[in-house]
């Protein structure tokens, strides 16, 4: 049975703490997501999301503080705007925008986190494994170069040209990843 | 009589219809009563404007629809103008009138033939037209 791989970008003030609460309350949810902790959801560059898809993620979940609760005033509003555009771009690239989800989960909402995680895993499952149709080998882990100075291959080309990967000399992924 | 309040009533179709038709959100009203305090014809009403809204909030649409109030309102918009929450009772009133009128087209509130001859010959046309449109739909 296919198990989706999910990257979760959680802000440390709200959603990360909400996930902690889910843990201390021993709530159960599917283990598909791995969390990358950031100070603020506003730190998430659309490129991080694109990179995750490129690296084999089937879904990306961004968790931030509720509107008005941002620890840095309005970082979550910035995220909201970015995600809106990014979804449009994903769909242009042939990636279902549902594979990217933004949720406001506060530190008190362990229950919500569980619900969102479970629901998102189900949704991504129903979408099936992401097939980017890129040629070449999968850039796995440290093997794929993503130097800090330059943004990675999928760099913001709304047109979603397959050639972008080649142009910047990045390794691309196999056409279809094996379902686990 | 005890007012029976049920979620079915509160979320009833007719309440939703009032909200849709009036464009007003009933729960925005916090019952300060300023609409009633400023209404020029409140003395003639059996249920004051804020109470009509309250009845609707409680899901008691029939009481609101049966009230004399909705036919007494002269649409002077004083209530809407004064409301601190931007709820326009005048629009709610029109919505309630419309719900009644659209249901009972055969029995208009005002019989055009019964408007006195003096009124027809003397009053400004706008008054007669206005009354017919407001009260007969």
């Amino acid at each position: 049975m296919y198990e989706p791989r999910i990257v979760c970008f959680f802000c440390k003030w709200c959603t990360y703490a909400g996930a902690d609460l889910a843990g201390t309350s021993r709530k159960q949810y599917p283990p598909n997501g791995v969390v990358v902790r950031v100070n603020c959801s506003g730190r998430i560059d659309p490129q991080h999301v694109l990179w995750a898809f490129r690296e084999g993620a089937d879904g990306v979940l961004i968790g931030g503080c509720h509107p008005g609760d941002c620890h840095y005033q309005d970082g979550n509003y910035k995220t909201m705007r970015r995600v809106t555009f990014l979804k449009r771009m994903l769909s242009d690239m042939g990636i279902e925008p549902e594979r990217l989800r933004l949720e406001w989960i506060s530190a008190a909402e362990g229950e919500k986190l569980v619900h969102v995680m479970s629901d998102f895993v189900d949704e991504v499952k129903s979408l099936g494994a992401l097939e980017l149709g890129l040629t070449g080998e999968k850039g796995n882990g440290g093997a794929a170069k993503a130097p800090a100075k330059k943004k990675p291959a999928v760099k913001a080309k709304a047109a979603g040209k397959k050639t972008t990967a080649k142009k910047t000399g990045k390794k691309a992924k196999p056409a279809a990843r094996k379902a686990r | 009589m005890r007012l029976r309040i049920t979620s079915e009533h509160i979320k009833g179709d007719i309440i939703k219809r009032v909200e849709d038709l009036s464009g007003q959100s009933l729960l925005e009203c916090y019952q300060c009563g300023k609409c009633s305090a400023g209404c020029p014809v409140v003395n003639e009403m059996d249920v004051i404007p804020s109470e009509v809204i309250r009845l609707l909030q409680l899901g008691q649409a029939d009481e609101a629809l049966d009230s004399k109030t909705i036919w007494i309102c002269a649409s002077c918009l004083q209530c809407a103008s004064k409301c601190p929450k931007g709820v326009e009772f005048s629009s709610i009133c029109d919505a309630l009138r419309q719900i009644v009128l659209r249901k009972r087209l055969s029995t208009p509130r005002m019989d055009a033939d019964e408007v006195s001859a003096i009124m027809v010959s003397d009053a400004p046309q706008m008054g007669v037209v206005g009354a017919l449109r407001k009260l007969n739909g």
């Binding site: - | 020029p40 014809v41 649409s75 002077c76 918009l77 005048s90 509130r109 706008m126 206005g130």
Partner: protein, 303 residues
């Protein structure tokens, strides 16, 4: 200056005195009110329910006519002003209704020939609806009006009655502060009047209820009239034929109910303007008034 003018049904019939005085005053002030070549009733009330499209067709049709004559449309009657202005705003802000209304306009079969030239293009709310008072203040200028004043009305105590339709709702009418309006007062000061501030100047006269529930409307009107009388007004001025009717003609009933009721004339603001501008009696006709203003005007040497 020529400016398109929409008189409306009542000014065409029962309130001719309003219409005639306004046209003459405008002429004296160098403005020619050009009546729209075709127009219909505005509908008299603005629908307050959200699903109304048929109800705004009449005002929109008139606005479409007006769009061929110029970018402004002057009205006098408070109801016409209210209905036209709000319908215009609906067209500007509600694309769905605007589209539907335009579809209906095009499908209009009555008077097709006349209308055809007007309905080739959609009406998009391009006309600006202005009240005669706004025209005086913003286009002619109160200063220019003041210069044309031949008879200062300085001993005349005038109570300006706004009523409802000019002021409310504030966000849509954008006419004046609905609680403490001043456009009327400033106008009267321009004419040199002794302006009487009375607290009921923005209260309702009973409006159309005079047709269906006379007592109710008379109670409203009496409240307004008594307040002006109490403040020592010689005359009440209004901008609305229905207000004029309720406040003036119903004083007969008011007098029956209230002992010692002192009657007070209620006239159109354009009639007062006419007197100040020195316009002759033919255009300033008071024969339709229940309470004759002429004695008090004569007493102040204004006739």
């Amino acid at each position: 200056m020529k400016i398109p003018y929409y008189p409306g049904c009542t000014l065409h019939e029962r309130a001719l005195d309003f219409d005639v005085s306004a046209r003459e005053c405008a002429k004296t002030l160098g403005v020619e009110l050009e009546e729209l070549p075709i127009w219909t009733c505005c509908g008299a009330v603005f629908p307050l329910v959200t699903d109304s499209v048929m109800e705004i067709l009449a005002p929109v049709r008139n606005l479409a006519y007006a769009s061929r004559e110029g970018d402004k449309l002057v009205t006098l009657c408070s109801f016409c002003y209210h209905v036209l202005k709000r319908a215009n705003r609906t067209i500007r802000t509600d694309p769905e209704k605007a589209e539907k209304a335009n579809l209906f306009l095009r499908a209009d079969t009555e008077a097709r020939e006349e209308i055809e030239s007007y309905t080739r293009e959609d009406y998009t709310g391009q006309v600006e609806v202005i009240h005669f008072l706004e025209m005086l203040r913003d286009l002619v200028g109160y200063e220019a009006v003041a210069k044309k004043v031949r008879r200062k009305l300085k001993d005349l105590r005038v109570a300006p009655y706004y009523g409802c339709m000019l002021l409310r709702p504030k966000k849509e009418m954008e006419f004046d502060d609905p609680e403490q309006p001043s456009i009327f007062e400033e106008f009267l000061e321009t004419l040199g009047c002794d302006v009487v501030d009375f607290p009921m100047k923005t209260e309702c006269c009973g409006g159309f209820q005079i047709v269906s529930d006379e007592d109710l409307a008379i109670a409203c009107s009496r409240n307004v009239v008594s307040s002006a009388i109490k403040r020592g007004a010689d005359v009440i001025v209004t901008t609305c034929p229905l207000c004029r009717y309720n406040l003036d003609k119903k004083q007969e009933e008011m007098a029956k109910e209230v002992r010692g009721f002192r009657k007070i004339p209620v006239i159109y603001f354009t009639q007062l303007l006419g007197i100040a501008l020195g316009i002759d009696g033919e255009h300033i006709d008071f024969t339709d008034n229940y309470v004759d203003p002429r004695p008090v005007l004569a007493e102040k040497s204004l006739l």
